[in-house]
């Protein structure tokens, strides 16, 4: 399938460059995890960004709305996002 240059490019949250804002598209995780993420403000349609990542492949500091969240990279990888330019 051909992609037009301005098509949205999905990526995973752990791949999102620091400081870039993206919109959550879908989350590929077990129901319990999805509901915990939702409770913290990570859910489809909401904006997220990565504030910083801890050294030695430690967790990420993720900002979702007014809430900052500590999230490990493995879990971040289950969050598919759409970067906004």
């Amino acid at each position: 399938m051909l992609m037009k240059p301005h098509d949205p490019v999905l990526t995973q949250l752990d791949q999102l460059p620091t400081g870039m804002i993206a919109t959550v598209c879908y989350i590929e995780a077990q129901a319990e995890m999805v509901s915990r993420m939702r409770a913290l403000g990570i859910k489809p349609g909401n904006p997220v960004s990565v504030v910083r990542s801890a050294p030695l492949s430690g967790p990420l500091q993720v900002r979702a709305g007014q809430t900052d969240i500590i999230l490990r990279r493995a879990e971040a990888a289950s969050i598919h996002v759409n970067p906004t330019f």
């Binding site: 319990e32 409770a39 960004s49 900052d68 500590i70 999230l71 879990e75």
Partner: protein, 599 residues
């Protein structure tokens, strides 16, 4: 009028316990750390003319939570008769938390909605139309700052109104005890929340940079963050040392003076054994322990300031990478730091972990956390035996060792955990600790310390006096005394560690509670609060002292911690494993140390 029961519910770290304290005058533990409260706490207060039992619950992430603390809150909501609920939200985060309030509303109980932390909401430019929200929800809505006491009066009024209404409505029983599982987190709630938010709340698109962001640029910096961590730790002990140590000295001088000037003359008419028991046993023993109270108080003051600042969550963030390689996560590291105060709440704090095996591993390492009772022993020995220049570094070495042994233990046992649970938690903004609250908290913790250990201390020094002075007539604490005879039996175990007969008696009592150790030494050496240091320094060298402290650091912390481990793990076998592990590690470490330095 019947008694009413009202529970505080809300997501973690929204200020439930702060409001609980405000309303009832109680002193529940507060901290800028999600999962501070892990058990139910109740208090009574009068609302209008009605007696109300207010219950503070652990925070709930949502109504489908499965960690132990959430289970406790959920179980309470499902099984206990409740007259009304106070739902506490963080106003700044109303966008994500309002859905929780709507879920709770489904329980059908009379409700008061609290939007707490109004001060932060204003600063972050989150605008809330309280009246519209109240109308839409059909329950009282209060915008307050529990920490500063703004708006708590309105909460009390709302409570009175709600209780009055609840009482006049005939049948409320049918609305109680709805099983929470039937209330699914459905799309209807989602849609309702979105619609409600659209008309009542305005939040800025992307939050502006706050002072929290600026501080974190340094404290969470990949390289500098770790260095900052050590400086913070060092700073804390510097504060405790420089404030607490002089106070301790003055107190011990005062107690010594009181003994010679007033108490000894007063007791002189009594028969010799009784005088000795009261003076050399109780007074010296309990007095010596008491002299450490100012240090303990300062220590708790500093610890609560750290807990309330929000730094704990940063420590979890920084240390998670390291901890994950040992089968644990950043929260287990925070429990190690909380254990600096007392190991018992740290053991209970593991309730936030969902994976029971990960919880156990965390409980296995917490006893190595250098609690304030052991700090007392170390302060005593380091000041008595080491030079003033060396003493703080010796003390620091024990904190480092405490972490090293904990990490090593986790590393060795990490295979037991299996798959780790995911780490996902809120990183709250920094918050100013308020001094009055800190002072209260420190007094409360020190009070608990006294009440918890007080009985043990008195009983401990009394028994030691008996053991060292019986049979009557022997030289106290000589090999002929009961204590001496016991020590001779255990000598083969302790001699290779450089721990001589008299010291090993103190260690045996330390098994019950480390607070007894210094008091025990006072009785064993027959020295008062102000002389003990000198007597000990004359009797043992630095190698023996270090070996003794090493053993004290590593062997079983106290009975209270063991009881907590037993309760939380619900396993006798695990508890025994934990005891055996720490005793063996303690013996091996002291043995290795003493044999190497005396070569």
């Amino acid at each position: 009028m019947s008694k009413a029961r009202i529970a505080l519910v809300g997501m973690p770290n929204t200020g439930k316990s702060t409001l609980f304290n405000r309303l009832s005058g109680a002193s529940a533990r507060v901290g800028n750390w999600p999962g501070m409260t892990v058990e139910l706490q109740g208090a009574r207060l009068l609302v209008g003319a009605r007696m109300v039992e207010l219950i503070d619950l652990p925070g709930l992430n949502n109504l489908h939570g499965f960690s132990e603390d959430e289970r406790i809150a959920r179980h309470f909501l499902e099984t206990q008769p409740i007259n009304a609920l106070i739902v506490v939200l963080n106003a700044t985060q109303i966008e994500r938390q309002l859905a929780f309030a709507l879920q709770i509303k489904q329980l059908g109980l009379p409700l008061i909605l609290i939007l707490n932390m109004a001060d932060e909401a204003i600063r972050r430019k989150v605008l809330i139309d309280r009246d519209a929200l109240e109308k839409a929800l059909g329950c009282p809505v209060c915008l307050i700052s529990a920490k500063y006491g703004h708006g708590t009066q309105a909460v009390l009024q709302a409570l009175e109104t709600v209780l009055h209404k609840e009482e006049t409505q005939a049948d409320t029983a049918s609305r109680r005890n709805t099983p929470i599982d039937v209330l699914l987190e459905d799309d209807v709630i989602e849609a309702q929340t979105t619609a409600l938010l659209a008309t009542t709340v305005r939040t800025p698109q992307m939050p502006a940079a706050t002072y929290t962001d600026r501080i974190d640029n340094l404290l969470l910096h990949p390289g500098l963050g770790i260095i900052a961590f050590f400086f913070i730790l060092l700073g804390l002990f510097q504060i405790v040392y420089s404030i607490g140590a002089p106070l301790q000295e003055h107190l011990s001088e005062a107690l010594e003076a009181a003994k010679t000037v007033w108490i000894a003359p007063l007791l002189s008419p009594l028969p010799a054994p009784l005088t000795s028991f009261l003076l050399d046993g109780l007074y010296d023993g309990v007095g010596t322990v008491t002299t450490f109270l100012p240090i303990i108080l300062t220590f708790y003051l500093v610890m609560s300031a750290v807990e309330d600042s929000g730094y704990m969550a940063r420590a979890a963030f920084l240390m998670d990478a390291l901890m994950s390689r040992m089968g644990l996560d950043g929260r287990a590291f925070v429990m190690q730091i909380m254990g600096f105060g007392c190991n018992v709440p740290a053991v209970m704090g593991t309730r936030v972990l969902r994976n029971p095996l990960q919880r156990r591993l965390s409980m296995l390492i917490i006893p190595f956390s250098l609690c304030s009772a052991r700090l007392q022993v170390f302060l005593f020995f380091t000041t008595a035996v080491f030079s003033p220049q060396a003493a703080p570094w010796v003390l620091l070495s024990f904190y480092v060792l405490s972490f090293l042994v904990a990490f090593l233990t986790a590393f060795i046992w990490r295979g037991q955990v299996g798959t780790q649970e995911p780490l996902i938690m809120e990183l709250p903004p920094y918050r100013y600790p308020t001094f009055t609250y800190l002072a209260l908290q420190a007094l409360r913790e020190a009070g608990q310390f006294l009440r918890g250990a007080g009985g043990f201390i008195v009983a401990g020094v009394a028994i030691i006096w008996l053991l060292t002075h019986l049979p009557w007539g022997v030289t106290p604490a000589s090999p002929q005394s009961l204590a001496g005879q016991i020590a001779t039996l255990t000598a083969p175990l302790f001699e290779p560690l450089g721990i001589d007969n008299l010291l090993s008696i103190a260690l045996m009592f330390g098994f019950v509670a480390k607070e007894v150790v210094v008091g025990a030494l006072a009785v064993i050496y027959g020295a008062g609060p102000n002389e003990l240091g000198g007597v000990v320094a004359r009797n043992i060298d630095w190698r023996q002292a270090y070996s003794f402290m090493l053993f004290t650091l590593l062997y079983t912390p106290c009975l209270a911690t063991l009881a907590a481990i037993r309760r939380e793990s619900r396993s006798l076998r695990f508890t025994l494993t934990s005891i055996a592990w720490s005793v063996v590690v303690a013996w091996l470490a002291s043995f290795a140390f003493y044999q190497i330095v005396t070569r």
